[in-house]
């Protein structure tokens, strides 16, 4: 009996070692090529035709893809747009590490580009001619997509911040539109006192908003230099942000509603969420998500952290990138260039996207466009000014998507317990540093 069991065990060990060998063999080969691709090569690929898969949730790409197929009838663009945010990046990372099912083109937000370029998940587009497009884009987005002489994506849109506010609510309670964050805090108190159901804005802890506000306040928590990085939320800019936001939290002046949920749209529509500080790509979302509040909302410049300071920041904005494992890189690049530097740009702006290209931003037609939703306001003037005032030198972590995923574990505590916002940011910092160390970065104080 004893010997049989041991024989069976030995057999099992053998079989499992064998299967292990098989499963462990799934290596991947890096398909990066560095040789230049001429415009002729790309044209030839377009003439030959083929299928490309595009993973992007940007709604205006639907029309762009249709136009592209009309122009190049042999190319079939397969647009997959169900996923966005975390789910999108999870799927993309999984596909890249599995080496299978990788899309030819993927939408990647600026804050996430670093993670994919660092792990060589994205193809360098410079050999395809992308570096020649540098002068087309505003500096903010272009800085986000290029790293030295490598270009990891083409800017699709940008998100210079603005303060959207519900004018009807502000008029009703005779509150002036805040020009500084201190005024904003007072407006929040006045509004909530006048109507206990109404809040100045909604926030339950949002990494994107927090980093953008820190950016605007002049804080530069992330220092990234190749494989060296530093995280530090203890600077003057962060102090300004903490002071105002801590009071908003402690005095319960923020609606406890998550962004992009049904409750949130409802709040934006019924006046219980009175302002929204976000990127200039928001108007299209107002039109589709909050149709019943048409005419009530307006855009204004961001409140300043110090009176008279014009500094602005970016919130969101994405690029189209070509994964290194994409099967048809010539076609993928052709589509990316068409959508983000070619005829696609005009189409997308026509549908409400906010451009990252200089020519469009500066054009008179763009600036004088009247927004029906904002009751005829020429909001692009405000957005364009904000774009020009975006403070420089900001950088995200090369693993920002991960850092954002643990934001609510750390900073989120400040929203639901007696933890101070400053302590929350400190524990976010510690967790980010710890992850950075685990990933082999050299941490600088």
């Amino acid at each position: 009996m004893r010997s049989t069991t041991s024989r069976i065990l030995r057999g099992i060990a053998l079989v499992s070692t064998l299967t292990l060998g098989v499963t462990a063999c799934g290596g991947s080969d890096d398909g990066s090529d560095t040789k230049a691709v001429s415009a002729g090569d790309i044209q030839a690929a377009l003439d030959k035709g083929g299928d490309i898969t595009v993973w992007a949730w940007e709604p205006t790409l639907k029309t762009v893809a249709a136009d592209f197929q009309k122009k190049y009838p042999k190319v079939k663009v397969n647009l997959v747009s169900e996923r966005s945010g975390d789910k999108h990046y999870t799927a993309l990372s999984n596909a890249i590490s599995a080496g299978k099912g990788v899309p030819d083109v993927a939408q990647v937000e600026y804050f996430a580009l670093g993670q994919y370029s660092l792990t060589k998940g994205l193809a360098d587009l410079a050999p395809y001619g992308a570096s020649k497009l540098a002068s087309k884009y505003t500096p903010g987005p272009w800085n986000a997509v290029n790293d030295g002489d490598k270009v990891y994506g083409l800017p699709m849109d940008s998100g210079p911040m603005a303060l959207f506010y519900n004018k009807t609510v502000f008029d009703k309670y005779k509150i002036a539109v805040p020009t500084t964050w201190d005024e904003y805090l007072n407006a929040a108190r006045k509004l909530h006192k006048a109507d206990p159901k109404a809040y100045i804005t909604s926030d339950l802890g949002d990494a994107g908003l927090t980093t953008s506000l820190l950016w605007q306040a002049g804080s530069r928590p992330y220092k990234v230099d190749g494989t060296k990085l530093g995280v530090n939320f203890d600077d003057a800019g962060a102090k300004k942000f903490e002071t105002v936001w801590q009071q908003l939290i402690s005095e319960k002046l923020l609606a406890p509603v998550n962004g992009w949920t049904d409750d949130w749209y409802k709040g934006l529509g019924d006046g219980t969420i009175a302002t929204l500080a976000t990127g200039a790509w928001m108007p299209a979302n107002f039109v589709s998500g909050v149709p019943n509040a048409k005419g009530q909302w307006r855009a204004a410049a961001m409140p300043a952290w110090t009176k008279g300071d014009k500094a602005s920041a970016e919130n969101g904005g994405s690029s189209l990138a070509v994964p290194a494992l994409a099967k048809n890189k010539e076609l993928a690049y052709a589509f990316t260039e068409y959508a983000n530097a070619g005829a696609g740009v005009a189409t997308r702006i026509g549908e409400g996207a906010f451009p990252a290209t200089k020519a469009e931003l500066e054009s008179a037609a763009f600036q004088s466009k009247k927004f029906d939703y904002f009751d005829g306001q020429e909001a692009n003037k405000i957005f364009a000014e904000s774009a020009a005032n975006v403070a420089s030198d900001w950088s995200y972590l090369p693993f920002q998507p991960y850092a954002n995923s643990i934001f609510n574990d750390t900073v989120g505590k400040a929203y639901v317990s007696s933890t101070k916002l400053a302590d929350g940011l400190k524990s976010w910092q510690d967790a980010s540093v710890k992850y950075g160390q685990e990933q082999g970065f050299t941490i600088e104080k």
């Binding site: 499992s16 995923s405 609510n408």
Partner: protein, 308 residues
């Protein structure tokens, strides 16, 4: 007879026995082969692969390298992991007795034969188990909501202020409530079917001896279903340690209360899918598997020893 054999044949005689023994062992393999193959492929290979993964570390800088048992020492010192384990242990200690107690009570009530509409009662109690965990959690999540949910409605209708069931202090209890609601019916069915096989002659004998209902329960019914109780307890222990669905579905509604390392399983999920730390995630999963096995085995040993 021996003289008939050619003399040369005597020499190679010692060889055949090992060959025959070999053949015998291969026949056995032939029978269990198909099973072993499937077993190895779907049970052992994933475990072996996890063990293999747990010995490496794949970093953004430096790539994939063999690190021996580093991941294990890291896990043993990982506060996030131990606090997650502590949380499910508390959950186990509080929720499982409540759930099994209710299930036992309901099973005994059904078995007593004194209920009207027994079939209806039984199916109603069992029904929540048929509701997928995802749906159940979403449903309860909406009820817990203080803004637009049932709690919010009660608050505004009666002018009271119920505690926020999705706040950090309450959310574990709220999850416990969902799990209890889901699994009382399932455990009730295990107990009830165990009770049904107790021979009725025992009850008649007890009645003749003058035993009351309580005495019948404590002296006949409970000892008779000991096996079922142990099995249900073990299932519940495993279920508690593997808690994942409820916190992960509830998280969007309670972003700041349910952390990404709320339970060990949720932690491994976050490590893998947010942090791309597949190797460390595999390590945590393996350690958690071993801990679950130890606890479940200890309960089984203890439960069975008393019965013997």
């Amino acid at each position: 007879m021996t003289t008939l054999q050619p003399p040369v044949a005597a020499e190679p005689r010692p060889a055949p026995p090992p060959a025959r023994r070999d053949r015998r062992s291969w026949t056995g393999w032939g029978f269990i082969g198909p099973f072993v193959l499937v077993f190895a492929l779907v049970f052992l290979a994933p475990i072996a692969y996890s063990v293999y993964l747990s010995l490496f570390r794949d970093q953004l800088i430096g790539g994939n390298q063999f690190v021996g048992l580093d991941n294990y020492t890291r896990a043993l010192q990982d506060d996030a992991f131990w606090s997650a384990l502590g949380r499910v242990a508390v959950f186990l200690a509080v929720q499982v007795p409540i759930m099994l107690g209710i299930a036992l009570l309901v099973a005994l009530a059904l078995d007593s034969g004194r209920l009207y509409g027994k079939g209806f009662f039984r199916i109603t109690i069992f029904l929540p188990y048929a509701v997928p965990a995802v749906v159940a959690t979403l449903m309860w999540g909406f009820m817990y909501g203080t803004k637009y949910g049932l709690v919010g409605d009660i608050n505004s209708a009666f002018g009271v202020s119920l505690p926020d069931l999705l706040s950090p202090g309450w959310v574990l209890a709220s999850i416990g409530n969902i799990v209890t609601w889901e699994f009382v019916g399932y455990n009730m069915l295990i107990f009830y079917s165990a009770l049904r096989v107790v021979p009725t002659s025992l009850y008649e004998a007890a009645e003749i001896d003058g035993a009351g209902q309580w005495r019948i329960i404590s002296s006949i019914k409970l000892p008779a279903i000991r096996g079922a109780l142990v099995i249900a307890t073990i299932f519940s222990i495993i279920g508690s340690f593997q808690l994942f669905n409820e916190p992960s579905i509830l998280r969007p509604l309670a972003l700041n209360s349910i952390t990404t390392d709320y339970t060990p399983n949720f932690y491994t999920y976050s490590l893998s899918f947010n942090g791309q730390q597949h190797n460390y995630s595999a390590t945590v999963a393996l350690i958690m598997g071993v801990i679950t096995m130890i606890v479940a085995y200890a309960v089984q040993l203890r439960g069975m020893r008393k019965g013997a």
